[in-house]
Symmetry: C2
Subunit: 447 residues, 2 copies
């Protein structure tokens, strides 16, 4: 028999085995991934397999094998030229989550290397690349060579996925998006981890979001994904820890690309909302700890606080912006960032206490304003967004603004305003907000 | 939003609903089928849906909707020009099953119209088209216009699926073949019934095979498929009956294309093996009964017996062969059919009684001889095959031939001989064969 025929037969057999709930070998999974990337296995076979994998599930070993095969489908960065530990952080996505913008410069200021390859906004959640691009001139499409140069010059660099990194993931993800096969924690794990581990990092801190603004709505779902990712990372020899953190209301106060850059600059300068500051310090502490810059988390946190207080963290952000073609002047004068032409408040309909903020609705309101994409090919308006004035537990009087919208299109603002108003639930008794960090998984080997 | 985007979004939503085990509406199923045929829905979405449908299952209503949508994806024959009832028979496939070759001329000789659109061999099972093509000159690729002419001239015609008939089934089937989604009784039902109902028939007799040579190995599987098909046929207003018949050993004695034509000529002439004759008369009786040529099954059987005895059935076969370009001389001189250059016996290793014949193995032996296809693109040797001398329950002495192979390739014969020898189990006590007809479903409205 000819080789293509062998491939075809074997592929169908692999699909049938997963269809019947059997565990696939590493070789079978590699066959699928490499066959797809090489164009030998057509998309219709991959999508049938993806559906079988979603419904039947993948074992830990299968998930790790898929992660590794997708990782090895492309280039794996070798950053051995840098003596310091290479660490990164990844978030599963949320609303107002701008910690990446804070952590990359903060942790690089502490002497570690942060080679961060990020994504764009997805659905109601924001994307790090979209936020960075709201800085005039900032380029996220650096070549891997230039990425390496920026890392050498300032210790951190933030770019988008390149053609060389995990091409299998790009192919699989595009298929999953249109075949109803996104919602598998094992496939999500492999997608995230293959890209992150391709960065050639020593340690990875995962921020797995849970709550009404997260993809994983329940703590159980989040914990299950977190466990899978920690397991896949550790099997690949990368120290991995996962913090399950709250996304039941937006993180910080700003939601929208340039507004979030502005808030990140505030946080790097020692200001900004308390929850954003707390989570950033916690994540930085873990990165310093795993990267052996801090013996304990408490030391890591102190180090981070010191780097903010001294201005070194903010200075590092300025450096990175300049190295990636952006206007470093935004650091001292955030007014250089784009801003919506108009502003409108969303008043509280009654007096009381904020009981809940339906977080996904706030994210959707930002998309409606133009701050996110309804369709993949949509362009983004970097200037628009929402600034919250009240968060869960806060007291509010009737008519007092709950939030302010920055907008360019009045018709979009009308719709978005309704959504933001809907997202708030006001009660007559004070409530306490949920904890910011629900659980920590992995990383226990170094107390 | 643009129309293609609407389609894309809706398709993903439909896939997700089936993935989650929800029941789809007729409109959603029609959307998938027509979208695929029109080229608006890519194969990778269809294959993901097929996998979800196989694993989650389809309800009766979904199966009927799929059948109807595939049927309406192409032309539905209108044979109203013929006053007589239009009836057909379909078998789910077996080894040595040549009843179609007997029934089409037999039932047409009885005054009904038999517009039979058949398939080729699949796996270890034979195909009606392959058998017919072993008759020198016989054409199965008639246009629908010529098909209609042959029907008008002799009351029966046997052709292959044309481009006009159920194009969605051709597309779906090709995808199922390479995505591990063949083995769904609901998808099998829709595939079979869409093609058969497109023939514009009034009644359909289904021969659902069960046993070691059938695709449905157990009676339960066969009954489940039979029920689905009867239900789908009746929902579409076509009288449908299903006989669950035995395929635990080959039907008749001949397995292989020209050998089966030869045996069919014998049966139409009043001879041939008893089981082949019995099943053919039973199926013919149902066709006559549903086609209102016989008030009872007993009458139908008598009618069939008379048509064989009088020579009218065989004469009708001769007519059809001539009308479809074949050599009608094979009727009187079967030696005009191709025959393997060599013959070899398979001797019994011991004395006793045939306890079992592993039927799929016999079918595979015929494929090995060249009588079937190992790969879709293989050509078939019409001359080769196997003639059994012993069937279940028969007494045999050590060294006496169990079967004789007709072959052209000695190396293939060696392998096939082993398989045939393996397929026989000899015991020391007489056993009785399984009943030929296990169960009858549907058609009960006309006692």
């Amino acid at each position: 028999m000819s080789a293509p025929e062998d491939t075809a037969i074997r592929t169908t057999e692999v699909i049938r085995r997963k269809r019947d709930g059997r565990e696939l070998s590493r070789a079978e999974i590699t066959h699928l991934v490499m066959g797809s990337v090489r164009g030998e296995i057509p998309d219709y076979q991959i999508s049938a397999w993806l559906m079988a994998a979603l419904i039947r599930g993948l074992s830990r070993a299968e998930t790790a094998a898929l992660t590794e095969a997708m990782l090895r489908s492309g280039e794996v960065l070798d950053l051995a030229e840098f003596a310091a530990a290479k660490v990164d952080k990844h978030s599963t996505g949320g609303v107002g989550d701008k910690t990446s913008l804070i952590l990359a410069p903060l942790v690089a200021a502490g002497g570690l290397i942060v080679p961060m390859i990020s994504g764009r906004g997805l659905g109601h959640t924001g994307g790090t690349l979209d936020k960075l691009e709201s800085i005039p001139g900032f380029r996220v499409d650096l070549s891997l060579e230039r990425f390496r140069q920026v890392l050498g010059a300032c210790g951190c660099s933030m770019i988008g996925q390149t053609a060389e990194i995990a091409p299998a993931d790009r192919k699989f993800y595009a298929l999953r998006d249109v075949t109803g096969t996104i919602e598998s924690s094992q496939l999500i794990c492999a997608s995230i981890m293959s890209k992150k581990l391709a960065e050639g990092i020593d340690a990875l801190v995962l921020d797995v979001k849970t709550g009404s603004g997260a993809f994983m709505k329940t703590l159980e779902e989040a914990a299950s994904l977190a466990e899978l990712m920690v397991d896949a990372g550790q099997r690949m020899g990368t120290q991995t820890v996962a913090l399950i953190t709250d996304m039941d209301q937006p993180l910080g106060l700003a939601v929208g690309n340039s507004l979030e850059v502005r808030e990140s600059i505030q946080a790097l300068g020692g200001g900004g909302p308390a929850d954003l500051r707390e989570l950033s310090l916690e994540l930085a502490a873990w990165m310093f700890h795993l990267g052996r810059r801090a013996g304990t988390l408490a030391e890591g946190k102190q180090l981070a606080e010191g780097l903010i207080r001294s201005g070194q963290a903010l200075e590092k952000f300025r450096e990175m912006i300049a190295l990636q073609g952006g206007d470093p002047g935004v650091i001292d004068d955030p007014e250089r960032l784009p801003r919506g032409k108009h502003r409108v408040d969303v008043p509280s309909p009654e007096s009381g206490y904020v009981r809940k903020i339906e977080c996904e609705t706030v994210g959707t309101a930002c998309v409606i304003l133009g701050g996110g994409r309804e369709r993949k090919e949509d362009s983004i308006d970097p200037a628009v967004g929402i600034v919250l004035h009240k968060k869960v537990g806060d007291q509010v009087s009737a008519g007092e603004p709950l939030a302010t919208l920055d907008y360019n299109s009045p018709s979009r603002a009308t719709l978005a305003k309704q959504r933001v108003a809907q997202s708030y639930a006001i009660g007559d008794r004070p409530v306490s907000a949920r904890p910011l960090i629900h659980r920590v998984l992995g990383g226990a080997s170094r107390p």
